[in-house]
Point group: C2
Chain length 312, copies 2
C-alpha cells in the first residue's frame, strides 16, 4: 500500500463498548478512517458516531445491513456478541468486505471458517448471556493466543480442562482452566476468569531463559510495554542470589497497541485493494488455531475433563 | 528464650552443598552456634568445618552417630538425601535432638510423622538418584508450600497431575505439574522442574487484588524481598490502562531469609530448653500438609493422572 493511497474506510457493526476503543484506534491509525456505523437503533448509531470521533461526512445506519451494503466501506469491524459473529461475518464477506472480528471467532471452529481476513480485538467485555463460551472465549482467547505465540504457533496435541468451571445461572463459563501439551515435553496451563481482579500474566520458562509479562492484554500504561527476562541465570556462590539478575525492560510505543493492530490490518487490506495482492493467511491461520484449542478445552469440559486431541 | 540464654548448639549431618548455606545462616543467626559436623568421612567433615566458619572448639565426627550422640548438641540439621531423611530423623529424635530437616520430609507422609519439630530448608539441589520424588519433592515442595500459604494453609480437597512427568533414565521425576482444588472455587496449579532456567514465580489472583513474586525461594538479591500487588484495579476510560496501577514493593531484610528461619527454629528450641515450653506444632503441621499434597500428586501421577482426594 503506497504512502499516498487513500485510507481504508471502516464500517462498524453495533455500538458495543469495545467499539469505542477500536473507533479511537481507527482514528489514530494513519492509514484508516471511520466511515460508517450501524445499529438496530438509528438513534444509538447517531450518538455513537457523534461521541467517538466519526468525521462529519460519516454514514450512520439504523441497521447492520446498511453498513455491509455500503459500497464505499472497505472493511467491517464486528464487535457483536459471539453468537452473532459468524452470521454477520459471512454476510459481510459475501459483500466482499474485509473483516476485523472481535474474539472469539465463533462458538466453535466448524462455523468459523471465514474466507477473508480475521484479526482479533483486544478488549475484554462480553455479554455472558449471549456467549456460552464466556470467560473461555474472552480472557481465555488471550491466554491461548499468548501460549500459541510462545510455542511459535505449533498446535498442542491435546487439551485437558483442569477442573469443573465456575458457571453463572445461565450456564455461561465464568472461570475455567486447562492444560495443553505438545508432542515434545512442552506444556502450558492457563486460567481465565471473569471473577478475579484485573490480572493478565504470562510466564514462559525455557531451559535457557524465561519471560514475564503482567499486562499483556491491556498495558498498565497505554504506550508502554513492560517485560522481564532472564537468560542463563544461576545461583551465585552459596545460593545467596542470582547471576545474572533478570532484566526489566520497557518498550515505548508511539501508538497504542490496538492502533498497530488496525494499521497492520489496513496495510493488508490496502495491499489487496491497491496492489492486487493475494490475501495473507497469517492471521486467519492463527485465529483458527486459537479457536481449535478453545474448542478442545470446551469439549474437555463437556466430557468430564477428559483429554481432547487437537487436530489442525 | 531470654536474651542472655546460651545459643542453641547445632550439629550437622553430612557435608551436602546446601549445608554450607545453612551453616552460614547458623553463624549469622544471633541465637545459634555451629557446634558439630559429622560425615562418613572424617576428612570431609574436617574440611567442611574449616571452610564453613565453624569455631575452633567445634566437634568433628567421622560418622552421623557421633553428632546425634553428642549430649551437647541441641538441634540437628539433616540435609541428607531424601531416602535417608526418616531414618536419621528418627534416630536423632530418639536422642532427644530437635530437628531441622531438609525438604521433603519423606518420600511419603506415612514415614514422616516425626515427633519433634520439623522445619524445611530453602535451597534446591538434590541428588536425583537418591530421591524418586525428584523435582516434585524439591522445587515442587516450594510450590505446594507457597500455595498452602496463599490458601491460609487450608488443605485442598484434591490433587490432579496434569500430564505425564518427564523422567530421567533412573525413573526420577525431572518435571511435573499438578492442579489443586478446594471445596469452594479456589484452584491452584503448579509446575516444577529441574530442566528450566532459574524460575520461581508465584501469581495469586483474588476477586479484589493480586500478588506476584518472582524470586520467592532464593531472592535475586539476598537481602531484598520484592513483590508486586494490585488492589481493586480496573480499566481506565476506553480501557487504555489500569487504575490504580499495580505497585512494586521491596522489603529490605537485615538478615538473609534463611537466617530468619534458623533464628525462629532456635527460638522454639530455646523456649523448650530454657522455658519448659511445649513444642509448638505450627511448623510440623505445615510440613505435614505439604507432604500430604506432594503424596497426592505422586499418587495421581502413578494412577494415570486421576484426581486424588486429600484427607488431613
Amino acid at each position: 500500500m503506497a504512502e499516498d493511497a487513500p485510507p481504508i474506510r471502516f464500517g462498524i457493526l453495533g455500538c458495543a463498548e469495545v467499539a469505542r476503543k477500536v473507533s479511537r484506534a481507527i482514528t489514530l491509525s494513519p492509514n484508516t478512517t471511520l466511515y460508517a456505523v450501524g445499529s438496530r437503533s438509528l438513534d444509538k448509531a447517531t450518538k455513537f458516531a457523534a461521541s467517538n470521533g466519526f468525521p462529519p461526512h460519516a454514514k450512520v445506519y439504523g441497521s447492520y445491513e446498511g453498513v455491509i451494503e455500503d459500497p464505499e466501506v472497505d472493511a467491517v469491524y464486528v464487535p457483536l456478541p459471539t453468537s452473532l459473529h459468524v452470521q454477520w461475518a459471512v454476510l459481510a464477506a459475501q459483500k466482499k468486505k474485509h473483516l476485523l472480528l472481535e474474539k472469539p471467532v465463533a462458538l466453535n471452529s466448524s462455523g468459523g471458517k471465514c474466507p477473508l481476513m480475521v484479526l482479533t480485538g483486544s478488549v475484554p467485555g462480553v455479554k455472558p448471556d449471549l456467549d456460552a463460551l464466556g470467560a473461555l472465549g474472552d480472557t481465555g482467547w488471550y491466554c491461548v493466543r499468548a501460549i500459541l505465540w510462545a510455542s511459535k504457533y505449533e498446535l498442542p496435541k491435546s487439551a485437558t480442562a483442569l477442573h469443573k468451571p465456575t458457571y453463572n445461572d445461565a450456564g455461561v463459563i465464568l472461570a475455567c482452566a486447562a492444560s495443553l501439551s505438545w508432542e515434545d515435553d512442552k506444556v502450558a496451563t492457563f486460567y481465565c476468569s471473569f471473577l478475579t481482579n484485573v490480572s493478565m500474566d504470562i510466564i514462559v520458562m525455557g531451559t535457557k531463559g524465561s519471560l514475564r509479562v503482567h499486562d499483556y492484554i491491556i498495558p498498565n500504561q497505554e504506550k508502554e510495554a513492560k517485560f522481564s527476562t532472564s537468560s542463563n541465570s544461576n545461583w551465585v556462590e552459596l545460593s545467596i542470589g542470582w547471576a545474572p539478575n533478570p532484566s526489566d525492560n520497557v518498550f515505548y510505543n508511539d501508538l497504542p497497541q490496538e492502533v498497530h493492530m488496525v494499521k497492520e490490518f489496513a496495510r493488508l487490506v490496502g495491499a489487496i485493494k491497491y496492489n492486487n495482492s493475494k490475501p495473507e493467511d497469517t492471521w486467519p491461520v492463527i485465529s483458527r488455531k486459537t479457536q481449535l484449542v478453545i474448542d478442545a478445552v470446551k469439549t474437555s469440559i463437556d466430557n468430564g475433563l477428559e483429554p481432547v486431541e487437537i487436530k489442525g
